[in-house]
C-alpha cells in the first residue's frame, strides 16, 4: 500500500506567494546569477515592523525595536529598516560597521553579545548603546573610555539566572549575562564608573518559548530597575531580547499528522520517513518512545507579534499585574530585539534541480545545486517543504502522483542532505526545475553557508514590486530611496 503524502507546506503571505508565482522572473535570475540564489523582500520587513509597533500601541507602551542583525546579512533589509524607526542589534564588529554604513545613527544601534576590544572601542567611539554581557566587559569598556578619552557610553546590563517565586521554574543555564545574584557588585561597578558609562536599562534574552520563564525574568528586571532607582541611577528601559518565533507552516493538521507518523516510524510501525531511520531526537527503547523531538515547533499559532502580545498580557508571577501594565505604571520603556520574527516572509532560497535518480532500494534522490549549509533549515530543526518551480512553467498534472524524495546536495559527502527527511512533492521534479525554500530569510540563508569544495555561496538579490511587476537589484545595490515600491 502506498502511504499518503505527508506534506509540510510553508505558510505564504501575499508578497512571498506572489514572487513564487513569478516563475519566469525566478528562472531568469538563477540562469544569470547561478544556483543557489537568495532572494530577499525588503518591503516585507517594514510591514513586519509595523505589526510589532501595533502591539506596543495596544499596550500603550513606548520604547525601541532593534532588529537582530545576525538573522540575515542582507544590506537591503538593513537599509530598508534605516528608513523606518527601527534600530539594529549588532553582535560583531563587522555587523556594527555594516549598519553604520547603512545609515543608522548611533542612537539606533545596540551592541550585544560577548565583545572583543575592537568591537567595544568602535561601539564606544561611535556612541552606540552597549549591552554589557558581564562585569568584566564593563571594566574593559570603562578602561577604553578613560584611556582614549571617549564620551560617556550608554549601557544596558544583561542579566541571567532568574529565580521564580512559589513554584521553582527551571531554566536552561545561559552562557550569557551576569547572574542576578551578583547584582549588587555589578551595580557598585556601574556607580564606580559613573563618569564612563550611563546606565539606561537592563536586559535579558532567554532561549525558550516558555512564557512562565520569561515572565519571571521580566518581573525580576522590573525589581532590578527599582533597585537602580533606589541607588539614584536612572535607567528607563527593559530589553526583553528576542525569541518571538515564527509560524512556518500553513496547516497545523499537516504538522500534527507528520509528527505522529514520525513517531510511528521511530517505533517501527510504518516505513521510515527519514534517511537511515534518523529520529530527530526520538528513539525506541523496547517499544516505548524515549528522547525528545529535536525540532522547531514549525506550526506555531501564536508567534511573532502575537507572542509578544501574549507575553505582555501574562500576569507577573509575584506582583500579579499583567507585565505590560507593570512596565507602563513603573514608567519603563520596552525594548525588543526580534530577529527571525522580523524577517518572517522576507525571503526565499532557490536551488536548481540537477538530477533525479531512483536507487535500486526504491528511494528517489533529487540532487540540487546547493548544499545543506546554503539553506540551513535542517540545522535549525525547521521542517518545511520546498515549492517546485517548473522550468517550463507547467504545474504538475492534477492526476500526478505525489512522490517522497530525498534532497541531496552538491558536496561530495555522504552526509550532505538538504534535509534528512523524505520530502513529499506533488509530482516528480525535472532537471532544470527550481526548488524554492520559502521563508528562509531568518537564519537559514547565509548563517551557515561556506565555500566547502569551492562551491559558490549564494548571491543575494533584493526583489521589489513596481507597478505590479517584480524587479530586482543585487542586494548591495538596493537602496530604499530608489525602490520605494512606487516610481524609481
Amino acid at each position: 500500500m502506498r502511504s499518503s503524502p505527508l506534506y509540510l507546506e510553508p505558510r505564504l503571505e501575499p508578497r512571498l506567494r506572489s514572487v513564487l508565482q513569478a516563475t519566469d522572473f525566478l528562472h531568469t535570475l538563477v540562469d544569470a546569477l547561478g544556483s543557489p540564489l537568495n532572494v530577499v523582500l525588503p518591503e516585507q520587513i517594514t510591514e513586519n515592523e509595523e505589526r510589532f509597533r501595533a502591539v506596543y500601541q495596544r499596550h500603550h507602551l513606548s520604547g525601541d525595536l532593534y532588529f537582530a542583525h545576525k538573522a540575515n546579512r542582507s544590506s537591503a533589509l538593513v537599509r530598508q529598516l534605516a528608513v523606518t524607526g527601527a534600530g539594529m542589534d549588532v553582535a560583531s564588529l563587522a555587523e556594527l560597521q555594516h549598519v553604520l554604513g547603512a545609515g543608522f545613527t548611533p542612537d539606533r544601534i545596540m551592541a550585544t553579545g560577548p565583545k572583543n576590544r575592537e568591537f567595544l572601542w568602535l561601539a564606544a567611539r561611535a556612541g552606540v548603546i552597549v549591552n554589557l554581557d558581564s562585569k568584566a566587559e564593563l571594566e574593559s569598556l570603562a578602561e577604553l573610555v578613560g584611556k582614549y578619552v571617549l564620551p560617556r557610553v550608554r549601557v544596558m546590563l544583561r542579566l541571567s539566572a532568574f529565580q521564580a517565586p512559589g513554584v521553582k521554574v527551571l531554566s536552561r543555564p545561559s552562557r550569557f549575562g551576569s547572574h542576578v545574584s551578583e547584582l549588587d557588585t555589578l551595580l557598585d561597578a556601574v556607580e564606580r564608573h559613573r563618569d564612563a558609562v550611563e546606565l539606561i536599562g537592563v536586559a535579558y534574552h532567554l532561549d525558550t518559548i516558555g512564557l512562565p520563564e520569561k515572565a519571571v525574568a521580566l518581573e525580576t528586571c522590573i525589581r532590578v530597575m527599582n533597585e537602580c532607582q533606589r541607588r539614584g541611577l536612572q535607567p528607563r528601559a527593559i530589553d526583553i531580547g528576542g525569541g518571538f518565533g515564527v509560524n512556518y507552516l500553513a496547516d497545523g493538521g499537516q504538522w500534527e499528522r507528520y509528527t505522529t507518523e514520525l513517531t510511528n516510524a521511530v517505533l517501527g510501525r510504518r516505513p521510515a520517513l527519514t534517511w537511515q531511520g534518523h529520529g530527530y531526537g526520538l528513539r525506541s527503547e523496547s517499544g516505548t518512545l524515549r528522547g525528545a523531538l529535536g525540532l522547531y515547533p514549525a506550526h506555531r499559532p501564536v508567534a511573532a507579534e502575537g507572542y509578544l502580545d501574549e507575553l505582555l498580557s501574562y500576569p507577573a508571577p509575584s506582583l500579579g499585574r499583567p507585565l505590560a501594565t507593570l512596565l507602563l505604571e513603573n514608567l519603563y520603556d520596552l525594548v525588543i530585539e526580534p530577529g527571525r520574527a522580523l524577517v518572517d516572509q522576507c525571503g526565499v532560497a532557490l536551488a536548481r534541480v540537477l538530477e533525479v535518480r531512483h536507487t535500486p532500494t526504491g528511494d528517489c534522490l533529487v540532487r540540487v545545486e546547493m548544499n545543506g549549509g546554503d539553506v540551513s533549515l535542517e540545522e535549525h530543526g525547521v521542517l518545511m517543504d520546498p515549492v517546485v518551480i517548473p522550468r517550463d512553467g507547467s504545474r504538475p498534472a492534477p492526476d500526478a502522483e505525489a512522490v517522497g524524495v530525498y534532497l541531496i546536495g552538491n558536496l561530495c559527502l555522504e552526509a550532505d542532505l538538504i534535509t534528512r527527511r523524505m520530502v513529499f512533492l506533488p509530482g516528480l521534479p525535472k532537471p532544470g526545475d527550481l526548488l524554492a525554500f520559502a521563508n528562509t530569510a531568518g537564519y537559514f540563508m547565509d548563517f551557515s553557508a561556506d565555500h566547502a569544495l569551492q562551491q559558490p555561496i549564494a548571491r543575494k538579490v533584493a526583489a521589489y514590486q513596481e507597478n505590479g511587476t517584480w524587479r530586482w537589484r543585487l542586494d548591495e545595490q538596493y537602496w530604499p530611496i530608489t525602490c520605494t515600491g512606487e516610481q524609481s
Binding site: 500603550h60 513606548s62 512559589g166 513554584v167 521553582k168 521554574v169 527551571l170 531554566s171 536552561r172 532561549d207 525558550t208 518559548i209 516558555g210 512564557l211 512562565p212 520563564e213 522590573i222 527599582n226 532607582q229 533606589r230 528576542g242 525569541g243 518565533g245 497545523g252 500534527e256 509528527t259 505522529t260 513517531t263 517505533l267 531526537g281 516505548t288 518512545l289 524515549r290 528522547g291 525528545a292 529535536g294 525540532l295 522547531y296 515547533p297 506582583l319 500579579g320 499585574r321 501594565t325 507593570l326 507602563l328 505604571e329 513603573n330 514608567l331 540545522e379 535549525h380 530543526g381
Partner: protein, 439 residues
Amino acid sequence: MRYDSITDVIGNTPLVRISPAVHGLKNIDLYAKLEMLNPFGSVKDRAAWNMTRGGLATAMERGDSIVELSSGNTAKALAVIAGLHGLPFKSVTNRMKVPEIKDLLLLLGAEIEELPGQTECLDPTNTDDPLTRIHRVLSESETGYLHTDQYYSALNTEAHIAGTGPEILRDLDGHAPDYFIACVGTAGSSTGVATVLRGHNPAIDVVGLVAHKSDFIPGIRNIDEVHEVGLFDPATYDTIESVSADEAIDGMLTLVRRCGMLAGPTGGGAYHGAVRHLRKVDAELTERRTAVFIVCDRVESYMSYVRKRRPELLNQPPRQNSVAGLAPAELTAATVIDVESAQKWIAEDHPLVIDLRGPFAYAALHIEGSINIVDELFDELLHGGLPFGRSRPVLLACPVGEKSVRYAALLTRMGHPDVRSLSGGIIGWRDAGAPLVRD
C-alpha cells in the same frame, strides 16, 4: 463506616448508572465508575497508595523523599500520602497547566520543579525527555528518593487489577461489561481494569481515549505522548479514539448538570467518548448490553481551565457602576487636565490625588501627596458606590491617562461634581519634568 486510616478509604467506589434519558442509548446500560469519590479526589489515589505503601517504612527510616513526574492527581495523592508519613514530596513537571492544582500542591507542602520550556533556537545538546532527566537527577542526588515512577511501575497497574477491576465485576453481579471505555493517562487504570474484565469476558470491547493532538485535556495524553508511557501497550485496547478539549468539556457539562456527578474534564471526555462509541453500535443491537466508563476526578480544580476555554459558561451578570458600561459620549465628556494646570490645581484646591497604578510602581515613584488605590481595587470599591464625599475634588492618575479618564467618566455618572483625569498620566507628568517622589 469506621476506618483507622484515611488510606483505608481508598477504593470501593460506587458504580452508578447514567439515566438513558441523558445518554439516549436504547440497548445499553451505561455505568460510571466514580473514582472521583476516592478520598484525595481521584483514581490516582489507588496507584499512589499502591506504589508507596511497600516502600514507606524504609523511606521513613532513611528520611527519603517521594519523587514523581506529575502535574496533577498523582502528585496530589502522593503529596497527601507523603505528608501523612512525615516525608517530603517533590514533583517534577513539564508545565503546571492547571493553576488550581499547582496552588493545592503548594498548600499540601509539595516541592514543585517545572522543567524549562522548549528552546526557541534548536539546541542539539538538549535531547532528554523529562523521565530520563528525572532518572539522571535521582542518580546524581546524595539523598535518598522513593521514586514511584507511575509511567512504568507495575504497581500502578496492579492497583487496578486488585481493586478497580474486581469491584466492577462484583457490582455487575460477577459479569464483565460488554464495553469498557477509559481515558489513557499513565495507562495504569485502563490496563489494569481491562486485564481483569477481559479475563472474564474475552469478547469485551475496550476503548482507549486520547486527547486530540493540539488540545490539552488534563490527565489524558495525546496520540503521540501515549507512546512515551512504559505501561502503554496498544494491544490492551480494541480501539483508540481521540476526544477534543471541547468535547471533554461538553461531556463534563452533561455529567455535572444532568447526572449529578461533579466530574472533571477527564471524566467528561470519557463520557463523551463512551456515548460517541456506543451510539454507533446501539442501533444494531438486539439484546441488552452493559458498558462502563471511568470518572477520574472532580470538577472543582478546573475552573480556570473552563474559564480559558469556554468563558461563556461562567459568565457573570453585568455589574452596576462598571467602566464597561460607559457610552463613548460619557468618555468624551469627562474632564481631563494637563500637567501644568494639574500642578496649579493641586497647589490651589488640594484635590484628592488618586494614583491607580499598582503598589509596587507607586512605591517607586509617585506624585507627592497622592494616595494609591490600584485600579482593580478601585473598580471593586465603585461597585458599592462613591468611596469619598462629593465635596472633595478628585484628580485621577494612571500610567498614560487612558484608564483614569474612564474612571473620571464613571465617577461623573455616579454624581461626583468635580473629578478630573490627568492627561498623559504619570508618564506625561514625568516627561513634562514635574516632580515625582519616593517615600
